[in-house]
């Protein structure tokens, strides 16, 4: 695949991620998502954009419900 074609494919994938993980109808939910056997509160796919070595940092301590501070830190 040419460099331009690769960039187009990457941009399409980014646009998909942007939509699927963060938009659309929100019904909430009550099932835990997990990545690499690490239970997380709902974060959607955004965890894939974080280096794998940071995954243990993303597990919420008891009582914390908003991971945005962790991801921004």
């Amino acid at each position: 695949m040419s460099e331009t074609g690769s960039q187009v494919q990457n941009a399409t994938l980014l646009d998909l991620l942007d939509r699927v993980i963060d938009r659309g109808v929100i019904l909430a939910g009550d099932v835990t998502l997990s990545v690499a056997d690490v239970d997380l509160l709902y974060l959607g796919l955004r965890v894939l954009l974080v280096p794998v070595e940071r995954l243990p940092d993303l597990v919420n301590p008891p009582g914390q419900t908003d991971c945005s501070e962790v991801l921004c830190g």
Partner: protein, 264 residues
Amino acid sequence: MGSACCVYAITAGSTPLPAASRGAPASLTTVAWRELAAVTAPMSDDRAPVTMRAVLHHEAIVEAVRKEGPALPVRFGTMFRDEASVASAIAARYEPLVAELDRLGDKVELSLTALWGEPLSDDGRVVSQLEGPLADEQSGAGYLLARAAEERHHDAMKEHARTLAHELDQVLRRFACGRRVRLAPTPRVAMRAAYLLDASRVGDFQSAFESARRSVRELRVLMTGPWPPYSFVRQTDAHGATAMVGGIAGVAQRLADAMRERLG
């Protein structure tokens, strides 16, 4: 198989499920509440995987469902312990969901990303006549002057992006029934926009886009889609009030913008 349910889309109760022959999983089912239904699939346990494959699978199902009739895309990773919980969630948002399905169910969106075509300096800044000399950042005063200059540069870029976005928008808006525009979200990205339109107008929109992109030479403009209308769904809480999805939404946006930066 466990009783947990993954939700993909909201449809009218009369809309059929896509056939397995069209690529939809045989395990797809619906959870109905009055005139609405949630398209769901059972999950093997209550720890759902977050993988690229799962994301692509989610989108494939949403698009397959929309080929059968109007449908609203549900955010990835929406899972409930059982079908009764799904029905309760629909019931709590019934009227807004009916209104949204009527408004958006048969619409699509196209995404526009405009990258600056100008060369960038090593620290990612656009090198142009808009940028003045950098102050000495070793001193406190120098640091503040440098930050002030950076702020002025960012404002100038944003204004320039606004002008270019307006030029593009003037051409494209007549095909759209809604749009979302973000100007200069990062130093490399001049504009990101989503246009909502009837599926029948996609061809006209794409033709107009090809003509318009040639007139904005400072930008590299990329269009993707059509997508289900994720960007135009109004979020409501269980009481029907419009909720602001900030916080984590903002974080995801910044991460997505950072990924775009690397595309150059």
